[in-house]
Amino acid sequence: MEPSKSQASQDQKMVLPMSIYSPSDISRLIRELDNLENQIMQEQIRSKESKLVLPKVSQQLNTLADVNKVDLSQRTHRQTLQTALAAVKQKAPVVHISFSSEPSAGFMEKIATWFRQQTNPYVLLTVGLQPSIAVGCVVRTPNKQFDLSLGKDLLKKSDLLISKFSLKEQETASGRFMPVKSAPEGQS
C-alpha cells in the first residue's frame, strides 16, 4: 500500500527512539499495534462501556508513543502510528553492521544514535556476527561495504609492517640483532 502525501508528512514528524533500531523491531511494533487494535475493538464490542481500559503494551511501544506524544487509546492516533511505522518499514534505509561478538542493547543504541544523527533519522540497523573481525566492524550500506575491521586496517598499513620486517631482517643479517636471553627460572 503506497502511503499518501499527508502520511508522508506525518512520517517526517515521527521520531524513532534509539531503542528501536532494527526492521524486526518495526515489524514487531506493527504486529503489536494490530493486536492492540483488535483487542480494543473486541473490548468495545463486548463491554459497550464508554471508558476504555487499555491493554498492557510493550516497553518499546510505550516509549514510541511517549516520544511521539501519541495516545494509544485513540484509534486515529494508533492508525497514524501504524501507518508511519509501515512507511518506515518500507522506506527507511537499512544498514547492516557485523561485529566480532553479540553487541549489547546499550551499545546498539549508541550506534543507532550516531547513524540517525549523522545520516538519516530513520536508519534501521541489522546486526551480524563475524568473529574474524576481532576489532572494529563491517558496515554494509545499500550499495557499499565499509570494512572498518582491524584486518583491513593492518592491510592498509602493510607497507609499514613490511618495512619493519625488512629492518628486523637486516638487523638479524648484520648480527646487530641478538635474541634476548630469557632469565633463569625463579627470577623475574
Partner: protein
C-alpha cells in the same frame, strides 16, 4: 774341430798301414832271405809287438779322441756360452723393445684416460655451474614467491594472531570509541550511499 780330429786319425792309420805294406814288399823282393827276414820280422814284429803297437795305436787314437773330445767340449762350452750371451742379448733387446712398446701403450692409455677424465671433469664442472645457477634462480624465485605470499597474507596472519591471542578479551564497549571514529571518518560516503539508497 771334430772334422780335424777325424782327419788326423785317418792320417795315423794311413801311416801305420804304409809301414806294414813296406814290410810286406821287402819280403817279396828278398826271396832268399825271405825266410830269414820273415823269421826276423816275425821275430821283431811278433804278436806281442803287434799287440803292443795296436795298443799304442789304440791309446794314441783314444788320446786323440780324448783331446778332440776335450776340444769339442771346450768348443761346445764356448759355443754354449756365446749362444747364451747371444740369446741373453737378443732376449734383452726384445724384452726392452716389448717393454718400451708396453710402456708406450700404457702411457698412451694413461694420456687418453687423463684426457677423458679431464673432459669429464670439465663437463661435470660446466653442468654443476649450470645446475648451481638454475638452483640459485629457483631459490630466488621461490623466496620471492614466499615473501610475496607472506606480504599478501600478512594482514590476515596478524589479524588471525590477534583474534587467537586477545580476541576474547576485547569488549565491544571498549571498541565503541574506535568504531565511532571509523564511522566518522567514512561519514560522507555512508551518508551519500544511504541518501541514494533511501
Amino acid at each position: 774341430m771334430i772334422l780335424v780330429a777325424f782327419i788326423l786319425m785317418g792320417v795315423a792309420f794311413a801311416l801305420i798301414f804304409a809301414k806294414l805294406d813296406q814290410v810286406n814288399k821287402g819280403q817279396k823282393k828278398v826271396v832268399s832271405y825271405e825266410d830269414q827276414t820273415k823269421q826276423e820280422v816275425e821275430h821283431v814284429f811278433d804278436n806281442a809287438f803287434r799287440e803292443e803297437m795296436r795298443n799304442r795305436g789304440r791309446l794314441h787314437f783314444e788320446k786323440i779322441i780324448g783331446e778332440n773330445a776335450m776340444f769339442l767340449q771346450q768348443d761346445l762350452r764356448l759355443t754354449t756360452s756365446q749362444l747364451n750371451d747371444y740369446m741373453k742379448n737378443e732376449i734383452t733387446v726384445k724384452l726392452k723393445d716389448e717393454f718400451a712398446k708396453y710402456e708406450k701403450s700404457i702411457m698412451d692409455a694413461k694420456t687418453m684416460a687423463m684426457d677423458s677424465i679431464k673432459k669429464t671433469n670439465d663437463a661435470i664442472e660446466e653442468e654443476r655451474a649450470v645446475v648451481s645457477q638454475e638452483v640459485q634462480k629457483q631459490i630466488l624465485v621461490e623466496k620471492k614467491q614466499i615473501i610475496d605470499k607472506f606480504e599478501k597474507n600478512m594482514a590476515d596472519i596478524i589479524n588471525h594472531y590477534v583474534v587467537e591471542a586477545i580476541g576474547n578479551q576485547i569488549d565491544l564497549n571498549d571498541q565503541l570509541e574506535h568504531i565511532l571514529g571509523d564511522l566518522e571518518a567514512n561519514k560522507e560516503a555512508i551518508r551519500e550511499d544511504i541518501g541514494h539508497g533511501a
